[in-house]
């Protein structure tokens, strides 16, 4: 397989769209630029493979969720987001620039996000907090204080993607993690909500083996890349973490439950058997990541 820089790929895609100049369609239905708020400039891009395994207590039914997540670290703020979401956003923008017909564009864009991780985090935005954006039928936003992680530096060294890493341990949201950070990369950051070590965290694994983050690539952009948050505040529900987590848990445990109560005409008939299967097929990453 050919290896490209992610940026080369994004650039190539946008060129392709410019070149295509999709003809016809309704000339007035244009894609519009999604409002964004620039938060910082990206200094480092780190790609993590995030794996979460959940096991159904009742019958041992096992399901594994794997996502390729990108950490965009800036000077002050960092963003942790699914590779697919980033690709979607940058293609969307280049399509806007190319004046692509809206429906045509959405037909290309929507499949890109298939199976993406619906949660993304903004560390130190606003200052001292983590903002989490989550899509669950609608977009929800909540803020929480950056967790004060009690790091215990342990002995041990290993190499990850060519960097010498040191070992540390911590407890975060009810899980005990073994973490590998590289003092060679002077960035006090890491995947998801991890941060605070004298070097970039390249690997984190919880003791049960159910949750892991491991770095598979690292880049330092030469060009200026903006770090932004999509400003869909108008269509996003602002909520509190506790409220959101409760709602999310209800939704994931019984996804059709809340749908049924929204069906005003009450013409929707739900086969209970289907409902049961749908609920166990749901991705439970978010629940599994934070136990407390």
């Amino acid at each position: 397989m050919k290896v490209h820089s992610l940026f080369l790929l994004l650039f190539a895609v946008s060129v392709a769209i410019h070149a295509q100049q999709i003809a016809g369609g309704d000339p007035n239905a244009k894609l519009r630029l999604d409002p964004k708020e620039k938060l910082d400039v990206v200094k480092a891009i780190c790609l993590y493979e995030q794996t979460v395994i959940h096991i159904q207590e009742e019958d041992g039914y096992t399901k594994q969720d794997q996502h390729r997540m990108i950490l965009q670290a800036g000077n002050n703020v960092s963003r942790y987001v699914d590779e697919k979401s980033l690709l979607f956003e940058s293609m969307h923008d280049s399509m806007v620039n190319a004046n692509t017909n809206a429906t045509e564009a959405m037909n290309i864009l929507i499949p890109l996000k298939k199976g993406y991780n619906r949660e993304e985090n903004y560390k130190n935005y606003p200052e001292g907090s983590i903002t989490t954006r989550m899509f669950l039928k609608s977009t929800y936003i909540y803020e929480e204080a950056i967790p004060a992680i009690q790091w215990t530096v342990a002995t041990g060294e290993k190499e990850i993607i060519g960097y010498i890493c040191k070992k540390a341990t911590c407890r975060l949201f009810g899980r005990d993690y073994e973490v590998w950070y590289s003092p060679e990369i002077p960035l006090s950051n890491g995947p998801w909500k991890f941060a605070g070590l004298p070097g970039l965290i390249l690997e984190a694994k919880d003791q049960t083996g159910k949750v892991s983050f491991s770095c598979i690539a690292l880049e330092f952009p030469k060009a200026v890349v903006d770090l932004y948050i999509p400003k869909s505040t108008k269509s996003a529900f602002k909520t509190k973490k506790a409220t959101f987590r409760k709602m999310e848990e209800d939704y994931l445990k019984n996804p059709l439950g809340s749908i049924k109560s929204s069906a005003a005409g009450s013409t929707i008939k739900v086969d209970p058997e289907m409902e049961r299967r749908a609920s166990r097929e749901r991705k439970k990453t978010f629940i599994e990541l934070e136990l407390e």
């Binding site: 037909n107 269509s235 529900f237 848990e249 209800d250 109560s261 005003a264």
Partner: protein, 865 residues
Amino acid sequence: MPKIIWFFLLVACPLLVKAQTTLEGVVVEQTNGTPIEGAIIHVSDNYQEPLGFDISKKDGTFKIVVQSDVSELLVQVTLLGHATQNLTIENRNQSLKVQLQPQEIMLKEVKITARPIYTKKDTLIYNVQAFLQGQDKSIGDVLKRMPGIEVSESGSIKYKGEAINKFYIEGLDLLERKYGLATNNLPADAVRSVEVMEDHQPLKMLEDVSSTNKAALNIRLKDGKMNRPVGNLEVAFGGNPNDFLWLANLFAMHMAANRQTLVMYKTNNIGKDISVELEEHTLETLADPSVRDLLNPLAIRELSLEKPRYLFNKSHLFTLNNLWKITKQRQAKVNIHYLYDGLEEETEQISTYYTEESPLIIHESSRIDQQVNRLEATVDYTDNADAYYLFNQLKTNLKWNKSQSEVKAFGLLNHQYHTPQYLVSNKLNYAKKSNHRIFTLNAFVRYSSLPQILRVNNDTIDFENKQDIHRTGLYADISSDYRLQRGFSHWGAVLNAKGGLDKLRSNLEHQLLTDSVQNHIQNDFLDLTLSPFFAFDNKKGLKVNINLDIKQSLQWVNDRQYQTKKRFSHFFLLPSAGIRYKLNHFWEARLSYKHNRSVGDLLNFPRSVVMHNYRLYRTSSGVLSEQKSHSGSGTLNFRNPITTLFFNTGVILTQTNRNLISDQRFMNIHSVSSNIPYDNVMNSLLCFAYMGKYISSLRTNISVNASYNLIKAERIQQYKKYPITSSAWSILPKISTKINEYMNAQYQGFFSKSYQQIESSMGKLESSTLRISHSLQYYAFIKKFTVKVGGEHLYNEITSNTSVHVFFTDLTLKYTYKRAEFGIEWNNIFNQKTYEYTTYNGLDTYSFKHHLRPMSIMATLQISF
């Protein structure tokens, strides 16, 4: 470890404590002195042994407490994108100022590998394997689970809440509007993927010109399921105390690149209504206008129960569908559907007709034996070229329905209805594009012939009353449209012409009636409508629609029986408007208004009597009916997904002015009904509300629907005019709960009370009825077994002091083994025999007692191949 050692350690500890140094400081940019956040300050001794670290705060400050006796400390300040600063300092409390200089990042990179992304230009591909579950039978079962797709029980499909505009199998439109045959029967495991083509434009010539805003669905089959027969077989046998019961379904198809064949045969006598398989679903093309029977036969009634509880049937359905792809763009198709439905019903009926002297009460018990025979055949040709589009469909729709009913009332009366309908139609759609101009023509022409007969025999008199009625018609509908879009606004116009030649002849041979028994009427009409429209959508929650129909309607009536000729001309302006406003994500409001005016048709003119059953006759006043209505509605919606509370409410008000009023006269037991000239007004009000809430702690969903409606109208009965007020309220609560992973339970209730008020010279007469029902279903899933237990209780008030209770219980057990499913169904365990209910129709009351299907046991087997 002995306690003594712990003690020793505790005592010795203070002695081991090393000197403590606090290093404080600030990290700034060398160039302009601005504080740097996130720099890593690392302290170690001469041996590179780490002693502590800190990350600089927003103001650049840091603080490290070092415990070491060494004389010198090494301080390393690093930050990505800056040159590393190494300082050697004395081991004492001190404050440092570290200046960092930007530097190009020299670290090695590990390039990010991009994943290949597979997208087809405008197609969303759902991989069926990802959604398929072991027990899915038809593709409809799988479609239900795909996000964005909804499937109704009859098999119709919606994508993102809108009806799809085409249903293809391997890119070919084999079934057209009857695609429910595929959704409900095509085996799920034969399908590889389902493609949703959003904004699908079926006309190739319009592909880059106009989009439809609708999606089409395409079923892709697995390679191994192509070029060979695929299908499934289901058989069930059982019995009840009176009958042997059966069910057999065979579905088979053969799909190849240039030819598709789909065959199905279904039969049963267990009360399953298979005629729904032939139901036509919404697609981009409109359905053919319907044709009504001329006689109202005594036919099987629909009850508010599930059909397998009361339908006594012997049904057979056969369908054959064949498609040939002639060239890449041309195809031909033949579809043949045949349905035989033999239905039986036994009822006891009490009809009460109000008159001021004394109410007329008629007791009847009837036995209806109805045979539905329906044959539908279509031949189509499509040429979907780049520059033009041609579609032509020739269709014959033949029904020869018969019904025999024996009514025990005043002696034994035997009715024999023959109500055939013969329809032949042709539909042509043509579109041509030249120099950016598009010409479209849609033409529909139909010839219909309905020679219908009723014979009534009485066991006491040796005379047969016979009604012959025959209507023939030729109907045409041609339309063309034009539209434009600018910014947030759309406007355009539709031009439509409808015309018809309609003829009716009737003749009654009656023992008592000899006068005014023949009709012979010719009615020709032409309607021209121009409908300009305007729509606005600012994409931020405000939508406005305004429509105006400018309609000229012409009618020529020639009554050859009474030697009169009339010409009617009407000009109508029919405005309608709607507005939708979305305040925020929680609230949404809608308002709409519509003005409508319409005139009647041929059936307003037969002035001679037509017999519909042994005691019901109809005539007309010979006056064209005119109707004028205003209706307005308002709704308010609330949704809060965070608290899972949903609420909506609305009101609909309608006022209808008519120039004819319904009139009923009695002569002995015979009644003659007609519409006579008298200006009257009907007002109606409908209010409804819905609330739904999901209670997560109980894994339970609760919803309540409530409605109230009020109708004020007038009727004439036995030469007297009565204002009638009827009203009804109903409440429908639903609770569904997930007990655990393996158990589900659902409850549904229905409470309804209706009131009737008649104002007569004797004062106000009031009556009311109450209906209550409860149904409870319980499901359990244990490995390969599924258990379903259901109970239903119905309470109906028949008169003010009599009421009935009915109890139903059913049990279903299923076991799945590989590609076969075995099951046992035990229905109507308490063996309920009758169902009674009362309905009101203005001044009249009807009470029915129906016979139900007895308790039955069935064994089922289903195999797919």
